[in-house]
């Protein structure tokens, strides 16, 4: 099968991690790396024979004809500029910024054929990717009236984008817990921890449930964890669901693959892994191998 050509906008840490994941993919080929200045990311791409531009999206668009998928890992502001231009070109765009022009997509929960027919999908946030599936799994069997997530990430793995926009991070994740996870209400708390060596991403998911059968909840969560592990191998259940009154507590940890980002950056890895997973599904579908995703 011929590989599908993809491009990355934003050759920072996330972009570089994507580069290594795409390099490994049987379905994807990195055709273009797009930046706004010379950087390690641009140099790395060049070294691998990938076309590059430092003129931003406007430098790329005239040469974009054979590219089918773009990963945008710039910023919310930049994506608001890039998104419509990519749409005009008919390029399937996977938005890793908090801009969220397109619907939120979390592979383990809502990666449907319909989603792959859209022109733009949003990767929510790392906490959203990590915790929404658990809320969705519990909601399916126990009806979640309120979901609360406390996400601790290592300071080193929180880039300047996240730091400058921490509100967008919590608000977007809150939205995902409701719209994709199915909780009636939600709250998200994020804590940056500077400990050395850096901590792995740790998420505590509290859900207030209407049906309190713990065995059913445990089974649903275990199945979901397996589904996520398929594309995020470092995803791990640290505390299987326990219950007090109607509050179920579940704790998960995410270690990264260590492609470009270090293993403690599981929070970033889960987003790049999910994004590549979506792109691969898109590629498989385009290749018309007949398999539903």
């Amino acid at each position: 099968m011929e590989k599908i050509k993809v491009a990355i906008i934003g050759p920072g840490n996330i972009g570089l991690d994507l580069l290594y994941k795409i390099e490994r993919s049987p379905y994807l080929e990195l055709a273009y790396m797009i930046g706004i200045q010379d950087s390690l990311g641009i140099e790395t791409a060049k070294g691998k024979g990938v076309k590059t531009t430092t003129e931003g999206i406007d430098g790329f668009l005239p040469e974009s004809d054979d590219v089918s998928i773009v990963f945008d890992c710039t910023s919310a502001k930049a994506h608001l500029y890039n998104g419509p231009k990519l749409k005009e070109k008919g390029i399937f765009t996977i938005d890793l910024t908090p801009a969220a022009i397109g619907p939120m997509l979390i592979p383990a929960v809502n990666l449907t054929d319909q989603m792959l027919e859209l022109d733009n999908v949003n990767m929510v946030t790392c906490a959203g990717q990590a915790t929404t599936p658990i809320v969705a799994a519990i909601n399916a069997v126990a009806d979640v009236s309120y979901a609360e997530v406390v996400s601790s990430i290592s300071s080193k793995s929180a880039g300047p984008g996240t730091r400058a926009n921490i509100d967008e991070f919590t608000v977007t994740t809150q939205k995902a817990l409701k719209e994709v996870g199915g909780a009636d209400e939600s709250k998200v708390i994020i804590v940056l921890n500077p400990a050395e060596p850096p901590i792995y991403m740790r998420n505590t998911i509290y859900t207030r449930v209407k049906h309190t059968d713990l065995e059913i909840i445990k089974k649903a969560v275990e199945e979901m964890v397996l589904k996520i592990k398929a594309y995020v191998p470092g995803y791990k259940l640290m505390l299987e669901p326990i219950i007090q009154d109607d509050v179920v507590t579940t704790i998960i940890q995410v270690a990264g693959l260590g492609d470009y980002l270090p293993v403690y950056s599981g929070n970033l890895d889960i987003i790049t892994s999910a994004a590549v997973n979506i792109a691969e599904k898109y590629a498989q579908r385009r290749a018309g191998d007949g398999k539903d995703v």
């Binding site: 609360e148 300071s155 730091r163 921490i166 804590v191 940056l192 500077p194 509290y206």
Partner: protein, 338 residues
């Protein structure tokens, strides 16, 4: 000696102290205590969930009353003191701050872990745009060295913070450490420096004084020292000590004590919390009276229906020494006939 700078008092009974009552202060409680604190000359009065705006959660405990209902209640009574809220980026948002501002907040303390100041840029800038007096609050200041602390404090200053605090959230510092950190900020920042102490090692007031000596001009306290862990510096004690040291400030000792005794204690009782003030013994120190005079003075206060504080102050003024308990009767009787 150079003229000492004015000390600006921030009372956090209704915010840090909210931890003590598991975030159950009602709008009515808040209005009463805030009004009392204003009368006692407190410059900034911080209210809300212990973990700041929208801290109400499974993780930290749910507030019994909505943040904004208590802000509204305080706003209705506060005129001269600044109604202050706490905002922890990652828990609260600019949107929540806008709400707080709408309901009457005049100042905000934007708090981050000591090494993570850059997450506050968004919130400090937004607060300044709203016209709020904005304090940068570097929590868990004991966890980093002086150089890093200065670096982080400079960030908050660059975002527009009007004051930056060395916040000892764990009550883990001793006076020499506080002095070192405050002095470093004082030397490197243009804005005033503050200190928030917890009394976990019994060092809260000593740390405040060390901070002031090192150049801090903003100091936190709470009535009866209410607050997380062993609590904060007690507002009453702080005012007493500042008076003794002849620092310039707006606090009124008797009025602060009265808010504790007459307003806060009954509120705490109604929540099943039985705490007593340290007022009488504090007055021994304040007036310089032999400690064994305490119980005798209380008895005389009841017998002659006079304020025990006045007895102790008078004893101090007359420079009584150990063994002169008999003077208590004389003074109490004298006060009762005034």
């Amino acid at each position: 000696m150079a003229k000492m700078s004015k000390i600006i008092l921030t009372d956090t009974t209704l915010r840090d102290g909210n931890h003590t009552v598991s975030h159950q202060f009602s709008p009515d409680d808040v209005a009463k205590v805030a009004l009392g604190l204003q009368g006692a000359g407190i410059d900034l009065i911080e209210i809300g969930h212990g973990d700041g705006l929208t801290g109400s959660s499974i993780n930290y405990g749910f507030s019994k009353y909505d943040d904004f209902s208590t802000i509204k209640a305080a706003a209705e009574v506060l005129t001269t003191s600044k109604l202050t809220v706490l905002l922890l980026p990652g828990i609260g948002t600019v949107k929540a701050l806008e709400q707080a501002h709408k309901y009457g907040a005049k100042a905000v303390r934007v708090a981050t872990h000591v090494t993570e100041a850059d997450v506050s840029a968004q919130h400090i800038k937004a607060a300044k745009e709203m016209g709020l007096f904005t304090v940068g609050f570097l929590m868990m200041s004991h966890m980093t060295d002086v150089d890093r602390l200065v670096e982080e404090a400079l960030k908050m200053e660059s975002y527009g913070a009007d004051v930056v605090y060395v916040t000892d959230s764990a009550g883990a510092m001793v006076p020499s450490q506080v002095a070192e950190k405050v002095a470093a900020l004082k030397n490197n920042l243009k804005v005033p420096i503050g200190h928030h102490a917890h009394n976990n090692l019994g060092c809260a007031i000593a740390n405040n004084l060390a901070a002031i000596d090192a150049g801090a001009t903003y100091v936190d306290s709470s009535l009866m020292g209410l607050g997380a862990g062993a609590g904060n510096t007690s507002t009453e004690t702080l005012i007493a000590v500042l008076n003794k040291m002849k620092h310039d400030h707006r606090g009124d000792l008797y009025k602060a004590m009265d808010v504790s005794k007459d307003i806060l204690v009954p509120i705490l009782e109604s929540k099943g919390l039985h705490l007593s003030t340290n007022h009488d013994s504090m007055m021994l120190g304040y007036a310089g009276v032999y400690s064994s005079f305490l119980l005798h003075s209380r008895r005389a206060s009841e017998r002659f229906d006079v304020d025990v504080r006045d007895i102790l102050l008078e004893l101090g003024k007359r420079k009584v020494v150990g063994g002169q308990e008999d003077w208590i009767i004389d003074i109490a009787h004298g006060l009762s006939t005034r």
